[in-house]
Symmetry: C2
Subunit: 308 residues, 2 copies
Amino acid sequence: MKAVKVFCPGTIANVSCGFDVLGLCLDSVGDEMIVRKSDVPGIRITKIEGADLPLETKKNVAGVAALAMLKEITFEGGFDIEIYKKIKAGSGIGSSAASAAGAVYGINALLGNPFTNAKLVEFAMQGEALASGAPHADNVAPALMGGCTLVRSYTPLDVIALPTPSELYATVVHPQIEVKTADSRAILKHNVTLKKAIQQWGNVGGFVSGLFLNDYDLISRSLEDVIVEPIRSVLIPYFKTVKVATKNAGALGSGISGSGPSIFALSKGADTAHKVADAIHDIYKNSEIKFDIHISKVNPKGCKVLPL
Amino acid sequence: MKAVKVFCPGTIANVSCGFDVLGLCLDSVGDEMIVRKSDVPGIRITKIEGADLPLETKKNVAGVAALAMLKEITFEGGFDIEIYKKIKAGSGIGSSAASAAGAVYGINALLGNPFTNAKLVEFAMQGEALASGAPHADNVAPALMGGCTLVRSYTPLDVIALPTPSELYATVVHPQIEVKTADSRAILKHNVTLKKAIQQWGNVGGFVSGLFLNDYDLISRSLEDVIVEPIRSVLIPYFKTVKVATKNAGALGSGISGSGPSIFALSKGADTAHKVADAIHDIYKNSEIKFDIHISKVNPKGCKVLPL
């Protein structure tokens, strides 16, 4: 195989209670990427459509992730990468992670899959580090592994694939205001109260249990963030209104997707996910804010090869 | 049924990563209690053997738990309770919880089980409040429900029964020094760093996943407490030595049982649990500290009725 076309899915990191550890993979929104083997060593970004991003390999997240991988490959040639961005940069649904994950997934496919998903996550994290200043796995892990994932530990990296209830849907609204990941991290407090931390890890345990038990009600009760959401949500217009309206429309719960500004809501079943989308639409349609709404089943597979 | 004899198991709260939320139930160590229906309204503690505890109902954890229950019962009579303590008070393996749980379990049995386990946990928590100054559920929940439990939330109370891997054993050493729960809580810091809180909730998610996946290795990796253990362990002689020795003997991990001073280690299988006990014995036998060691399968049932 000389070339491969890859679907690079969007992802929701944190999932309310699991700041920096939980993530889930989307189905209906993602980039595409074509990766080609080349006789010329190194990594080249040959084309980017849909976003104004740097072509210089070391300044591009896909490039950096691919370079990290190349260091551990004996292959003498190189790879050319074309990126077709569909996830907006800065949306909070893992735009940079999709690029980083897609690049290493594509190269791995071209080489006959020598690396495990866990190893691909490590490479892709290098791309994430370029984008956000720190090597995070809570978007690249679900992008590569699909479904819901838990980053139990970063040192050493230990990512757990969680089960994905088959009727779990996400509705995501991206209000098109700019919130940079680095800024969004900077406003977080260094310390939290032990009391709130206990609430949070009770909810992480509850959410994980809910996935294993296929218990949507328990998932719903666990979708609560007492630490990060109260701080970050002030950056997002209509956040509280969306939270109330999505719950009234039947959502299991909602929260900030990654570092925002996108807001996600989880629902049981496609019908509810559509009703939730309608409720969100009604809130933003009369505002001056441009917005996109995505409705997506939770994607159990992650990155996948598309017909070229 | 006029009278019932109850086995009231010891429990391990916190289980390293899950401060205030996780707990598990022991099998080989527990109190016994006889609860008798009486025509005389109210609750009376008629006998206590094995410990110097108050007979006055309102000053006794079993009494307080039973009184909390009595408020929601239409039964016109009362109950007499005999307590045979085998779990040492202040040991850190849920001595007060066993009394509180046993009392409400026994009364429920005599009344034909009108209350759910979840409701019994609420009553028993009132007894715990007397013992430790705050109504905690991380011992009474596993004592009543058996196995491993997660207190997802206190407001409202939401306790999740987690699966119990069939080969999960606990080895517990009780070094007989006095550490009062209230004192042990007082030395905790009000604030924790967000970084450590993230590590902790990653481990809670990992531990819960390990139970559902029957993955002893994941359970082992998740048995880590970066928040409470570093502070409380200084109160427990030989703690670090025990931690190293139990790991070397094959334990999955170890930590402080509840607020201490007992130390628990979890193992896969009875053989390893015995080797772990031997390793602990070798540490304390040459010290001046009196100690008990318990080896117990994780008890999937919790409180149970014994033949009278």
